[in-house]
């Protein structure tokens, strides 16, 4: 008797939405930058801070193209913790998200402590609350880490604000030419020198573990491929064959390096096993085959070949079966790079100028991504959301970033000289 009663109770409770309750299908939303207010963190350290954490976070989020940070001048109040928040202040400004925080200093450990909270303004619920600490030189890292957390919470994707970029600068002072390979934060800050040379440096390629860079150096008078350990600075010559040694590309597992060698007559693509130093030839064609790039699953390699008459993008399996052409529009399609999910190829496409383009491998649809028109050397961010590339701005070589899906579009801060050959690091382990 009781059991039956319970059964009936359970059935009626678990029956779900009553038939009469209205159910509305919401099938589309708006693709727009999310309005977010990043309130200046309260400085409770008792000293001046050389870094404005909230500003770094705000700038990171802005550059992603997925967020629309609120200008500080428009903020009606400056809360630093949840109990100080008056949600209406932010709701009436159309904000959806709110980041508040404060920084304190622990003299004993000489560490700064940043406490932050992320709120959803409309539902007035707290989404994230964390504490990060580090030395004075880590304030920017703390800021980028906060930006990453906010980004991931609200977009579901991993942020790349704590990643780095490698690039080459060229400074010419009269007849003095200086090539420098540098690594900087993804926002272009805190650059540090990796290698300098009077001879050209090209094609930096990050090892998947983020600790090494492979690149081409003409320091010996001929193009050779080196691998340099970033932390220690140790360099290793790994390819110095007759002819060309260029365009290194790491396999996803970091054990192999694809490269262009012309030792056997003309430029072909080879794969070097870094553990065994075994070299395997991938392409066999009298035309130029160069600029290899591994797919994220490690099974395919896309490259540029002019076997069709002019530079076009081709794909070949790592087992070396017959390459197939991917690009058919225009006379120049080169420098291919895989997207993070392996479904899209980014490359340089020439029409009136040189633009970055995206090819959807499933639909064969091509899309032009950039409005700048002297684009080259695309490198995809490790979350696949942005592409960094080299372009000319007022005759000067600069690095630019374009969002793949967002409207992100920015240029890295100008540096002395021309900047070129960008390479976006993988996700770096936080130290």
């Amino acid at each position: 008797m009781l059991n039956r009663f319970l059964l009936i109770v359970c059935l009626s409770v678990l029956s779900g939405p009553v038939a009469a309750d209205l159910v509305i299908e919401i099938t589309k939303g708006v693709k727009a930058a999310l309005p977010i207010a990043v309130v200046p963190f309260a400085n409770d350290t008792g000293q001046s801070l050389n870094e404005d954490i909230a500003q770094i976070v705000s700038d990171d989020l802005l550059r992603s193209g997925d967020f629309d940070p609120l200008a500080r001048a428009r903020m009606l109040s400056l809360p630093s913790a949840g109990d100080e928040i008056y949600f209406r202040d932010w709701s009436i400004l159309g904000q959806r998200s709110l980041l508040v925080g404060n920084v304190t200093y622990d003299a004993a450990s000489q560490k700064f402590r940043a406490q932050y909270e992320l709120y959803d303004v409309k539902s007035q619920t707290r989404l994230v609350g964390k504490v990060l600490s580090g030395g004075r030189d880590k304030l920017r890292d703390i800021a980028h880490a906060i930006a990453d957390t906010v980004y991931e919470t609200l977009t579901g994707e991993r942020g790349v604000f704590a990643t780095q970029i490698a690039y080459v600068t060229l400074e010419q002072k009269g007849s003095d030419v200086q090539y420098k390979m540098e690594v900087a934060d993804a926002d272009g800050q805190r650059s540090k020198l990796i290698f300098r040379s009077k001879m050209p440096l090209l094609s930096p390629a990050w090892a998947p573990d983020g600790k090494k860079l492979a690149y081409v150096s003409f320091e010996s008078g001929r193009p050779a491929i080196y691998i340099q350990d970033i932390a220690s600075g140790t360099r290793t010559l790994i390819a110095n064959y007759k002819g060309l040694n260029s365009a290194p590309s790491w396999s996803p597992d970091g054990n192999q390096l694809a490269m262009t060698l012309s030792k056997d007559g003309n430029a072909e693509i080879y794969i070097l096993d870094l553990r065994s130093s075994q070299l395997r030839r991938l392409t066999r064609h009298w035309a130029i085959d160069t600029e290899p790039s591994w797919s994220p699953d490690g099974k395919s390699i896309v490259f540029t070949s002019d076997r069709g008459g002019g530079p076009q993008v081709y794909m070949v399996g790592v087992d070396g079966n017959q390459p197939r052409r991917l690009t058919f529009e225009g006379s120049y399609n080169a420098r291919p790079r895989f997207s993070l999910d392996g479904n899209t190829i980014y490359y340089v496409h020439q029409r009136s100028g040189f633009n970055l383009a995206a090819l959807d491998l499933e639909t064969d649809q091509n899309t032009i991504l950039t409005e700048t028109d002297m684009d080259e050397s695309p490198s995809v961010a490790p979350n696949g959301s942005m592409i960094i590339y080299a372009t000319l701005k007022q005759g000067k070589g600069v690095l630019a970033v374009v969002g793949v899906n967002s409207g992100s579009k920015y240029t890295l801060p100008a540096r002395v000289g021309d900047v070129r050959e960008p390479a976006w690091s993988p996700f770096l382990k936080v130290n």
């Binding site: 309750d21 209205l22 939303g29 999310l34 539902s123 579901g156």
Partner: protein
């Protein structure tokens, strides 16, 4: 009220009429010399005039006394008093003579009287006897008479009885006849009644049938009307449903648009993600609470759609309280992206 007189004056007739009435009244009031009042009737005395001659007769019973029948009381007229027409002298002489006579008489009388008395006694005795005998005779006669009368009476009674009997019989017969007639009448009445009843029943049946038919027709009509009304009701209810449906549709569309405009999609590929949000609304359209009842599995997606629900400042809802309570008070949003 004045009566109009169209044909001349009514004065003369009025006077005559009044005079007549007055005359009648006067006449009745005047006491005419009525018939003389009836003198009071003196108490009747049964008197036998005893004069000399009679006495003489009595002394000598010659004839049997006549039957003394109790004479009915006669209404005798009181004799008028005779007035003697004689002079006073005569009267005196007469008186003396008379006195002498009277004395002689008296003596004689006395003797006679004594004799008479004796005789009278005897007579009286005899008379008494006679009276007694007479009485007896009378009694006997009376008895006989009574007997006779009794007999007569009896006879009469018998006769009467017979008569009565006859009468009774006659009556009985009459009654019988009457009864028979009555019975017949009753029978006929009954028959008539029966017929009447039959007729009535037939009539009733006919009426009943008619009534039933009418009822059936009425029922038909009523059903028809009911069907019409039901149809109208259905139409009404259909209209109401239609109205509710159209209201429902209208507000559904409005809510859908409002939420979709407020839903900032997370960047990247959201295809295949779906979630369900339960909304509790106030009749004003204000959101009381939004709760995820079915998560998409993607935190950023869930945050975005929940934020969208809260970002709608006021939900467009019906003002019909019934419809609101049924559909809108507790509703669900199914979020999905292709």
């Amino acid at each position: 009220m004045k009566i109009a007189n169209p044909n001349g004056s009514y004065i003369a007739p009025i006077i005559l009429s009044v005079g007549l009435h007055v005359g009648i009244v006067v006449l009745t009031l005047i006491s005419w010399p009525s018939l003389s009042k009836q003198q009071p009737i003196a108490p009747h005395i049964q008197a036998r005039i005893l004069d000399q001659d009679m006495l003489n007769q009595l002394m000598e019973p010659t004839d049997p006394l006549p039957d003394i029948k109790p004479k009915p009381v006669e209404e005798s007229k009181p004799a008028p008093a005779k007035k003697p027409e004689k002079t006073e002298q005569q009267l005196q002489a007469e008186k003396q003579e008379q006195a002498l006579l009277e004395k002689q008489k008296a003596d004689a009388e006395k003797k006679r009287l004594e004799a008479i008395a004796l005789k009278q006694k005897k007579l009286e005795e005899e008379e008494r006897k006679k009276l007694e005998e007479a009485k007896k005779r009378r009694l006997a006669e009376q008895k006989a008479k009574e007997k006779r009368e009794e007999e007569k009476r009896l006879a009469e009674q018998r006769k009467k009885q017979k008569q009565e009997e006859a009468e009774r019989k006659r009556l009985a017969k009459e009654q019988e006849v009457q009864r028979k007639a009555e019975a017949k009448r009753l029978a006929e009445q009954k028959k008539a009644e029966l017929e009447k009843r039959l007729k009535q029943e037939r009539e009733k049946a006919r009426l009943e049938k008619m009534r039933k038919e009418e009822l059936a027709l009425q029922q038909q009509a009523a059903e028809f009307e009911r069907a019409l009304m039901a149809k109208a009701e259905v139409q009404d209810s259909a209209k109401r449903q239609q109205r509710e449906l159209s209201e429902l549709e209208k507000f559904t569309v409005q809510i859908k648009i409002a939420v979709e405009q407020a839903w900032i999609l997370p960047p990247g590929d959201n295809s295949g993600l779906k979630a369900t949000l339960n909304l509790r609304l106030a009749p004003s359209g204000d959101l009381i609470e939004a709760k995820i009842t079915q998560s998409s599995g993607d935190q950023a997606y869930d945050i975005a759609l929940k934020s969208a629900a809260y970002a709608v400042t006021r939900y467009p809802v019906t003002r019909d309280p019934q419809l609101f309570n049924r559909e809108f008070r507790n509703m669900y949003l199914n979020f999905s992206t292709e």
